[in-house]
Each structure stands twice: as C-alpha cells, then as structure tokens.
C-alpha cells in the first residue's frame, strides 16, 4: 500500500496569547490508501486542528502552519493557495463535522446542498446531478430519497443529518474522508449505524478514512491503525489491535484503562434497603406553548406512567437516549419540574412538584452535567458552597467548617474557597459541584450525566470519587446517563427508559448480561467496542488468575 497522506514534522502555531505556543508540534504520520486511521486524544490534544490542516480549513487568522510538510498524493499542500485547495476539497478530500445540525445551512434544502458539492467540481448538466443526488441519498441510506432531498435540515433527525453530511463528503468519490468526531453528538444506536455506514462506504469506494475521536470503544470498532495525540504531539501510533492490547506508552495505557469495563464483577453490588423514594405512575406532557389548544395531537409525552423505587443506600442508573425522558424524571425528583399525573413520595412524605418543597428538598440534591455552566461565574467558591446551607438554617461558622471539610473530601485544597470558578479545570469544577450538593447533607443524590462532559481519564476519577463518597456517607443515588459503560461502573441497578417509559429495570448484572427487553438489547449491542471488550475481559481474567 502506498501512502495517500504523509505529514512530516508539522507544527501549527496558536495565536500569541494562547496558553501554549503550538497547537500541533512536530507531528509526523501517514495515511495509507483505503485504511481507517483513528486519531485519538482528549480535548486540547490538537487532533481536530491537525485534521483541519490537512483539508486547508485552518482559521487563517488564528492558526498557521509554522513548519513541516503535508504531502497529499505526493504533492506538498502545506503552503498552497486557497484556490488550489478549493480544487482538492470536496473533490479528493471529503470532510464530516461533529455537529450535523449546525454544519448544514438551515435555509437550503438538503438536496440542494448535496448538489452544490457536485456542481463545485463539475460543469456537467443539472439533470445528471439530480440523478446523482438521489443515488447518494440511497447510498447513505436516507429514507425515502425522492422526498427527503426536498426537506430542510431542521426537519431531519440527527442521524439523518449526519448521513446528508456523508453524502456531500463522498459526492465526488474522494480519496480521503476526514471525519471529525462525527458520532459524538449522536445517540449510541445512531452512532453504531453511522459507523457501519462509514465502514461500508470505505469498502465500496476504497477511500481512506481519517477518523478523529476521543472514544476508545469506537477506535476498537473501526480502526486499522491508531495515532494517539496529547498536547499537540503524537504519543504513540501503530496497528489498532497492538495499541489497544499492549500500549507502549503510559499515557495510552491510562487512556485505555479509564474506559469502564462493561461486564465487570469488580464492584460490590449492594442490595436495596427499604424503598425510600417511590415514584408512582408519573406522567408529564410537553405542549406547544404557542398552540396550547391543540392538546393531545402535538403534545409529546416526556414521561408516560413511570414507576420507580430507590432503596436506601442504593445506586440506580437511569439509562436512555436523548428524548427518553430520563432528564425530565430527574428534574421531577429534585423539584425542578412539575408533572401532570402520578405521585412522588420520599420517606413516606409526598413531594409536590416545584412548589412547597422547603422541608424535604434539601435532602435531595443534584450534581449537574456541564461543569462550566453549573457554577455561578460571579461568585467565589465560598459563596457557591455555603449560600444554600446558610439559607437552610446553618450558621455561617458551621457552614464554613463543613465547606472546608468537604473541599478536602472531594480532593481540593481548602484554599479553593477564595477563588472564582474560572480558575478551575472541568474536573475540579465537577468536584466543587459535588461538594455543593453534599453541603446540605442529602440522603439522595441525583446526578445528571455528571461525567459526560469530561475527558475519559477525568471521568474515571470522578466516578471513583462518587462511588467512594456514596459508600462512606451511605447515600442513595439516581445516576442519569446515556452511557451503559458508565452505568455499569457505578450502578447497583439499571433502569432503561425509552420514549417516556421504563422498559427495563433490574440488577446491573442482569441488565448487562441478560436484558429482558428488545430496546435494552439494542442499546447494549450498540455500545462501541464490544468485541474488544470481550478480549479485554479475557485478558483481565487471565491476569487475575
């Protein structure tokens, strides 16, 4: 095989005031024809910048190539003009982005946008192009191609939009497809379909794929070769199997080990104590606020007769895809949303939605998803932690005492109290958020995707911390997540939701190994890296023996 892309000693400079000088530093790598090369790294590793450089899509004002060469099909393209790059892009290099919604023009039909990609590199007639657009829609498995090409992006689902992006990228039979985290914004089942589609297209068109991802499971599923990046440098590269099984660098090993094992027996599951949160027949419909007279027709059921109990000291993972109602249920429990029907009781006392919650609510606290949005940027950590405790009747001295204790408990320096949130990293902020929830000495912690915005290595640390604190304080926890791996790492029990209903509820072992519902089975099958998982657990077992 010959190399399609060869990068030698490439450095890309960041603007003057950035926290480091180079986004990409002395990187050399090659992409062979027809292979899938995965570029892996955590946020800030420079992987996306590198991909943009290959396609000449660097934002010229902020990033520029400082040194090195990028050879595409033997020709150095590192310094060529925008006009020459234009002839390569879309023709020989196709590009797919992470957010299919914002990557499509909202005011043009998708057929038009696919046709544009063809017209840019072809002077042929319109009729031929229209036929080709339909062909591409079929090739990317868009449903009902004749109608869907006349639709606008907002009328499509996330997965369909990403298929449109793929159709545009492969419109001119390129040699290289660059996919920058193309499935990160999608649900797992959709992700699995898109991955399958990309592999299938690679097979049929024989193109090379540069796939950028942070997800080791995805790497295991699709990569022929892997390049691992960290802080702008290539740390390790090699055949995917080799790197995943026997990483040579400690960083790579840590990255791999941080991925929670799906079928693990490592955690001591505990049996539920007496039920103390009981949800009975909870229903909630979202109505179109601008057309409230259309009652049932347009009302989508966010919750549809949900029954759930959580026992004392138990951790329940609530798993589902976007729109399943899992977040809404969490909001009802914690008092951030009202419901239409059903009841919610906590230690025998009824909870009454968002109003009249003073007596019971402080005992149910919440940890949020986005570590950057969950702390008030204008308050110091001291106020963030103590304000609610003081409002709930604690004296300032007592509140400050528990603040210092909790900061240490979550692994921060007590001196953190006098700083503002922006002084902390994502993982540290999540620790502060956890400390804030613990300040009110809750009995039940609702954690809404608390690790999904974090890099995988930080994710593992926060999960460990949560498990530890939960055990030490005897808390119960409702852990909301879209990720079965994360669920398996922390849950005693797993509850699966789909379209506002609970479709599966059982001990973690059972749901992960012998799911009872079709949907849970589909979810499980879609978890990336399953085959790798098996070989991995065999290795684990071998190591244990």
């Amino acid at each position: 095989m010959t190399a399609l892309v060869e990068i030698a000693g490439l450095s890309i400079a960041l603007p003057e005031h950035a926290d480091r000088a180079l986004a990409v530093e002395d990187v050399s790598l090659r992409i062979d024809r027809g292979e899938v090369l995965c570029l892996v790294g955590e946020s800030g590793s420079g992987k996306s910048v590198l991909a943009a450089a290959i396609a000449g899509l660097l934002p010229a004002k902020q990033l520029r190539i400082a040194a090195g060469a990028i050879r595409f099909d033997g020709r150095d393209i590192a310094g060529i003009s925008e006009a020459s790059f234009r002839l390569l892009r879309g023709k020989r290099i196709g590009f797919i982005f992470q957010e299919p919604m914002s990557a499509l023009n909202p005011v043009l039909t998708i057929g038009r946008q696919i046709e544009e990609a063809l017209a840019a590199h072809d002077d042929g007639d319109r009729k031929a192009r229209t036929a080709r657009v339909l062909e591409l829609a079929r090739a990317t498995r868009l449903p009902d191609p004749e109608t869907i090409i006349h639709r606008y992006p907002h009328q499509l689902s996330g997965g369909q939009r990403q298929r449109v992006m793929i159709a545009m990228a492969i419109a001119n039979d390129p040699d290289l497809l660059i996919a920058d985290e193309p499935t990160t914004a999608l649900d797992v089942t959709t992700q699995a379909e898109i991955l399958r589609l990309i592999l299938e297209i690679r097979e049929r068109l024989g193109l090379a794929v540069l796939f950028i991802t942070h997800d080791i499971g995805v790497v295991a599923d699709i990569a022929d070769r892997v390049v691992v990046m960290k802080e702008g440098r290539v740390i390790e590269s090699g055949r995917a199997d080799d790197v995943l099984e026997a990483p040579s660098q400690p960083y790579t090993r840590r990255l791999i080990e941080a991925v929670p094992v799906l079928h693990t027996s490592a955690i001591q599951r505990r049996d539920a104590g007496d039920p103390f949160l009981v949800v009975r027949g909870l229903s909630k419909a979202y109505r179109d606020r601008r057309a409230p007279w259309r009652r049932q027709a347009s009302a989508t059921k966010a919750l549809d007769g949900v029954n759930l109990t959580i026992g004392r000291g138990e951790t329940v993972a609530l798993v589902g895809e976007s729109g399943s109602g899992k977040t809404t249920l969490g909001k009802c429990v914690v008092g951030l949303a009202d419901w239409d029907e059903g009841s919610l009781s906590f230690e025998g006392g009824d909870l009454a939605g968002t109003t009249r919650e003073r007596t019971l609510r402080p005992r149910i606290q919440m940890v949020f998803q986005d570590p950057f949005a969950s702390l008030n940027p204008r308050h110091r950590v001291r106020r963030i932690l103590t304000e609610a405790a003081i409002v709930n009747g604690l004296s300032r001295e007592r509140a400050e005492e528990s603040m210092s204790r909790l900061l240490v408990r979550v692994g921060l320096d007590p001196g953190a109290a006098d700083r503002f949130p922006h002084a902390f990293s994502g993982g540290q902020r999540q620790r502060i958020g956890l400390a804030r929830a613990l300040m009110l000495e809750p009995d039940l912690l609702v954690a809404d995707e608390p690790v999904s915005a974090l890099d995988v290595s930080i994710q593992a640390q926060i999960l460990d911390l949560l498990a530890e604190i939960k055990r030490d304080l005897g808390l119960s926890m409702l852990f909301i997540t879209h990720d079965l791996r994360v669920a398996s790492a922390i849950a005693d029990r797993i509850v699966v939701m789909q379209s506002g209903k609970i479709v599966e509820d059982g001990p973690a072992e059972q749901v992960l190994t012998r799911p009872g519902s079709d949907y849970a089975r589909a979810l499980l099958a879609a978890v990336p890296g399953l085959s790798w998982e098996r070989s991995r657990s065999q290795i684990d077992r071998a190591a244990a023996e």
Partner: protein, 325 residues
C-alpha cells in the same frame, strides 16, 4: 411550527397593537387640555354653557368611558377622525393630501439606506479588521451620532446657501410649470437633500447591523462545510453567508420603519417638505390635537402593516420560521 399558524398569530398581534394605539390615542385625547367641545366652542366664540353641553352631547362626551372608547373605535374604523379644530375640514382629507409626499420621501430614503447599508455593512464584515473596515465603521458611527435635523441644516448650508447646487425648500420650484418630465426632474432635485439626510442616518444603522450579522454567520459551522465542499468563494458568500445574514435584517428593518416615518417630522420641518411630518409640526404649533393624534394613528397603522408584510416576507425566506422571539 406551521406557517399558517405563525401568520395567524402575527396578524392577531397586529390587531392587538392597533387596538393598543386606539386606547393610547383615546387616553391622550382625554389628557389634552380642554375637551374637543370646549375647543370647538371657544373657536366659535361661544362660551355659553348650554351650547357647550349640547356640543358635548353631540360628540358623545357625556357618556361613560367604555362607551366613549367604543364610539371612538367605531369612528376610527370608518376612518372618521373628526374635523381639524383649525381648518374645519375632515382630518382624514388633510392627511390624504399630504401622504404621497411623505411616502415618496421615506420610501426613497429607506431604499437608499437599506441598499447602501447592507452593501457597505457586508463589505466591512468581509474585510473585518482591515483599514477599509475601520473607515466604513467610522463613517457609520459618525452618521449615527448626527442629529437628523442638524445634518439637514448643515447640508442646506453647504449645498444650497454656499454652493447653491441644490434647492433646500419644498417639493417643487414655485411657479414653474412645464412638461410632466420636467416636473419629475424638479421634484427629484428637491428630493435629494431631504432623502439623503434621512437616508444616511438609517444607512449607518443598517450598516452596523449587517456587519454584525454577517460576522456572526461567518463563524457558523455551515460556512466551514461550504468551504469543505470546495465551493467557489462567490457562491459561499451569496448562498450561505448573505442568505442567512440578511434574515434578521428583515425583522430589524421593518421595526425601524416606524422610526423612519417618525423621523420624517424633523426632516420635513427642516426642508419644508409638504408631507405628513410637516403637517404634524403645524398641528403641534396650532395645538390641533385631533389632527396630531390622527397622524399618529395613521402612521402607526402604516407601521403595523409594514411589520406584517415583513412577517410574510420572513416566512417566505426562512423555512424554519423562527422569529426573533
């Protein structure tokens, strides 16, 4: 959201606003010093209480407030704004005479402002950070800071008084007959200064908004997608950048229409342009509140209609129909 529902909602909103204007007019009319009856009576030199009472009855002023409001609403719906206190002619006739002149002035100014504003604003955005951008932005900031009527006065001083290039007064040269063509030419020459003065101020605003909007769109992912497809820069600019950047301008420009028509009172006063604005100024001077409020109502109605038209345009231009709520 479906288009019909959206437009119905918008139409309902327009009716609501019009009703609000009626109520506001009604309240202001009652706040005005002395009621219509005493003004009329005073005019006819008859301070006889019995006569005033009779007049009050004729005008419905002795009924309850809601009844009066209802009567008022009905008369406005018939375009019956009553008599001008001073001219003793139906207010609606007086306004109708003056409306064409104002429409000519404001439409010319609006088209000029929108056209050049959008053009210069997108040029500035396209070359953001360059010297050209700084110059264009500087021009916009300057014109935006000039009081309209002062710009007008300065223009008269420069182009009429000192250079003697352009007429500064009225809409036509007095006593000049001649063919239709020369009449058109004459009006056009008279139009230049007032229309430019009004237009330059609003050009500055549209320029600023367009520049911001284009810069915003340039940052969006789909522009990067268009580049990734290898589209020609001109096509990216037209189909992807401008098409999206101009959407918020539709709403913005239609909201500004009200200000533009309101601004004509100053310009028409400065240039003695025989339009509704000048009429409003005269009404103001003569304390002819009936006429003044009728002008306010009709101007508001025009603005509401323009906004509604802009909503229709927006629906046609944006498949998502998500207005700037």
């Amino acid at each position: 959201m479906d288009r019909l529902g959206f437009l119905t909602g918008r139409a309902a909103r327009a009716v609501l606003i019009l009703f609000g204007v009626i109520v506001l007019n009604f309240v202001l009319l009652r706040l005005a010093p002395g009621d219509a009856a005493s003004v009329l009576a005073g005019d006819q030199g008859a301070a006889d209480p019995a006569f005033v009472a009779e007049l009050r009855h004729d005008l419905g002023l002795d009924r309850s407030v809601p009844e009066q409001l209802w009567i008022y609403t009905k008369s406005l719906a018939r375009l019956d704004f009553g008599q001008s206190y001073r001219d003793q002619r139906p207010v609606v006739d007086i306004i109708a005479e003056r409306l064409p002149a104002t429409l000519l002035l404001t439409l010319t100014a609006f088209c000029f402002a929108l056209g050049t504003g959008i053009a210069l604003g997108s040029i500035a955005a396209r070359h953001a950070g360059s010297l050209l951008d700084t110059v264009l932005t500087g021009i916009s900031v300057m014109f935006f800071a000039m009081p309209l009527f002062w710009t007008g006065l300065m223009a008269i001083l420069l182009f009429s008084v000192w250079l003697n290039w352009l007429p500064s007064y009225g809409m036509q040269t007095v006593g000049e007959g001649g063919s239709d063509l020369s009449l058109v030419g004459d009006v056009a020459v008279h139009l230049i200064l007032p229309a430019l003065t009004l237009g330059l101020f609003y050009m500055a605003i549209y320029m600023r908004v367009t520049r911001a909007s284009v810069l915003d769109v340039l940052d969006r992912d789909f522009v990067r997608t268009a580049r990734a497809k290898g589209l020609k820069p001109g096509l990216i600019w037209r189909q992807h950048v401008l098409r999206n950047a101009l959407l918020p301008i539709i709403t913005f420009a239609s909201l500004q229409a009200g200000q533009l028509i309101g601004g004509s009172i100053l310009i028409e006063t400065v240039f003695a342009w025989p339009g509704v604005g000048r009429l409003a100024f005269d009404a103001l001077m003569q304390r002819d509140y009936n006429l003044l409020l009728a002008i306010f109502f009709i101007t508001s109605t025009i603005v509401v209609v323009i906004n509604l038209a802009a909503d229709f345009l927006y629906v046609a231009a944006d498949p998502r129909i998500e207005m700037g709520a």
